[in-house]
Amino acid sequence: MSDNQKSGVVGGNYRWVGNNTRRPDGVDKVTGRARYGDDMVLPGMLHMRMLRSPHAHARILSIDTSDAEAMKGVKAVVTHKDVPDHPPAKPPFGPAVSDFHDLSRNIMAREKVLYDGHAVAAVAATTESIAKRAVRKIKVEYEILPHVLDPYEAAQAGAPILHEHQFTLGLEPKPKEPSNLFRTLGGEQGNLEQGFENSDLVIEREFSSQPVHQGYIEPLACVASSSEDGAVELWTSTQGHFVARTLLSRLLNLDMSKFRVTASEIGGGFGGKTTIYHEPAAILLSMKTGRPVRSVMTRGEVLRATGPTVGSVCRIKIGAKKDGTLVAADAEIWYQAGAFKGGPVARATDSFFSPYKIPNARTACHDVCVNRPKAAAYRAPGAPMATWAAEAVINELATEFGLDPVEMRLKNAVKEGDTSLMGTKHGRIGCIEVLEAAKNHPHYNAPLKKNQGRGFALGYWLHGGGLSSASANLLDDGTLTLALGTPDIGGSRSSMRAMAAEELGIDIELVKPAVVDTASLGYNHLTAGSRTTYATGMAVVNATREIIEKLCSLAAFKWEISVEEVRWDSGEALPADKYAGKLKPFSLKQLAKMAPGTVGPIAGHSEINAKGAGASFCAQISDIEIDPETGGTSPVRHTVILDAGRAISPDYVEGQMQGGAVQGIGWALNEEYIYDDNGRLLNTGFLDYRMPVASDVPMIDTLIVEVPNPKHPYGVRGVGEPPLVPAPAAVAIAVENAIGRRMGDLPMSPPKVLAAMDAQKLAAE
């Protein structure tokens, strides 16, 4: 059914890479056989439930667990007293903040509760219903404190303070008063003042947005089992079981080697499953009871107590020449880090203006604590709201100058050799190719109907590389197992298998990929940052190339020639040079059979720190129709154009593009966290936290552009995150264009759209 297309600088003729293949996880997932977090059962298993704070901000005066502990069927209760404490982390802090003082308090409140839903105690009982009842018998005395939810308000003097020990970093002299503002990151180049003076037009706007949740359908679930010798086995739904091991080992002061963490099949994550939440409590309860402990969060717990992405308040100002040249740009954004520092401010600084060359530019991104759950990564964390602000203003400039928005962007587009505001020097990138593809797409100039508006936005994402390990084992029958350590969240088993089969030159069905536990492989960083197909893919290519080397050696040994005189091609060892054509080639299958009786088992492995992931660009065109009676919004057409470098498995890449676009539609139009005056979350279920369903969205057109990344053996760039970066922007811009008025506040829900239309009518009269 796919009328989706590809364009760009495509090269290479491959058998598996770049082709759609049968999915390796398909049968298990359509038969119900795939085992997710909640599908693990161990003998003697207990059930855990958590007591959570009903207050946004309160001091814990006392916790009395005696009545709960006395209940029949209750085996243990844990509170902060059971969680090792850690001193606050000291500067310098990297782009990502790691602080075990914070983590220990986020997984179990210590001195204070800092948000509605904050964990206070956990109970393990023989049944879930006993555990639930026991939780209600825990008595907690609170002293309620004033709370703050808005990041801009929270950063002002006089706001309720969440952490008395937190003083804004980087200020000289050190401030006397603690602050919710943890730090400000940013960059500056050129001369802003002069830049704005030299501009023909300067547009300044404000934007704001609410936190939105990743909305994975599988709630967090884990089973922990500890033994008398201190060993801990953990089964959990996570985007990084090696990372979970590191965090748990440091948090609980246990040797890393004592942990064996297995990643379950994962029912979505989108960044939300990149840290730990209930796992420490489950492990502590297992240690106390000597029995396995299972925890499965409810949807309400997932929404109240696991990290959504940050909400934001943003001010932006961009100046340009009449011909469309961008001259100066200044942006400032306040991000709600939630109860603990660590909002994605580094990514925001990198996202505002990176698609463009702007000689005079500045960004300032504030990381602000508020009484909400600690924000977690959500697909391109930090990027979409910064992108929205910049793209909306650039479109307005184009309109004012009478320029085509894509032409204006092309005039300023970054290319190889340019350096971003944050110091990234670009290699071969596809910004221009993506813009050209958008301009030439039939959607771009298609006519609009009444009450419809079109939005265009371009997004930038700098992909991650980092630590990955893989091992490949050739079996006697000529089949291959691939051991991977990055949980497969968007189809990595398929792309790994394609690359391995391509390298070896064998049928793809002979390769069986599996995600293995932490005791079975070298370290792997998260499946996040769109890094897996890039970094783990490189490790897989290395591991299979090691197998090829060994097979060539075996053939050389058999032929009694030197290994330099053997080459590998299409699944066979061939004699080369003076022996070319003179000896009968050995197939991989023949060599695999010979191996046990000669050189022994044949395996390859690779452990790498992958560099050079580089940037990619994604453009989106969104058409939104407004119902003038209700302010309701309907996406009627949506196109995603993405530079994938090379699409290893095109159908999976299209799936990422479509899924990301629909998440962006939800973010722009419906999704938001709604709190009452006491700071309690009101919409704690999918009924009120409304994510797009099939009837809300149109078919999403995709166009894969391929500008291969020269740093990867197959040219891969990540594809997970870019599709969300410009999506809310394109949709929000389309709504504003449809009603002919600025709104600037997400989500653009019907009441807000209706109010904006009324205001527009009044203004017209």
């Binding site: 059914m1 796919s2 759609n20 049968r22 999915r23 996880d25 398909g26 049968v27 298990d28 997932k29 359509v30 038969t31 119900g32 056989r33 795939a34 085992r35 997710y36 909640d38 599908d39 219903s129 990743q214 909305g215 994975y216 359908i217 599988e218 709630p219 099949e265 994962i266 029912g267 979505g268 994550g269 989108f270 409810t298 949807r299 969240i489 968007g490 189809g491 159908d651 999976y652 299209e654 799936g655 593009m657 479509q658 899924g659 990301g660 676009a661 629909v662 998440q663 279920g685 999918f686 009924l687 994510m691 369903v693 099939a694 009837s695 809300d696 969205v697 078919m699 999403i700």
Partner: protein
Amino acid sequence: MTTMHEITLKVNGADYACEVEGRLTLADFLRHQINLTGTHLGCEHGVCGACTVLVNGKTARGCLMLAVQADEAEITTVEGLAVNGELNDLQQAFMEHHALQCGFCTPGMLMTLTELLEENPHPKEQDVREAISGNICRCTGYQGIVAAALAVAEQRDC
């Protein structure tokens, strides 16, 4: 003391006679009492549709129905779709049309579409979208799912 209730029912063609607590949901019964964990729980309040099963041929939310209400019923879960070890056409189409990524919503989607294709063998795109509008998928943007259902309808016509 919890009162137990006896129920007899057919699940995927097999007979069961079980004692259940009155408050046990059908989804928990399927998952925990007879170990059919293909039926997934995403929200436990009837919105996400991951726990959708067929009760006497009609879709029902496993999380909104009690096991005792399924007494004497015939239930089909995702585990009952493949016949004699062969995937059925809808399961095949889900694989071929990339109708799943993480796969967590997949069982519910399959059950909802099984009902749709029974009731309306020639659905239009909009019919498919309406039919699955009670099932949330956060990964795919729904495109592959809609494509799979339309492909099956066309195939069955031939």
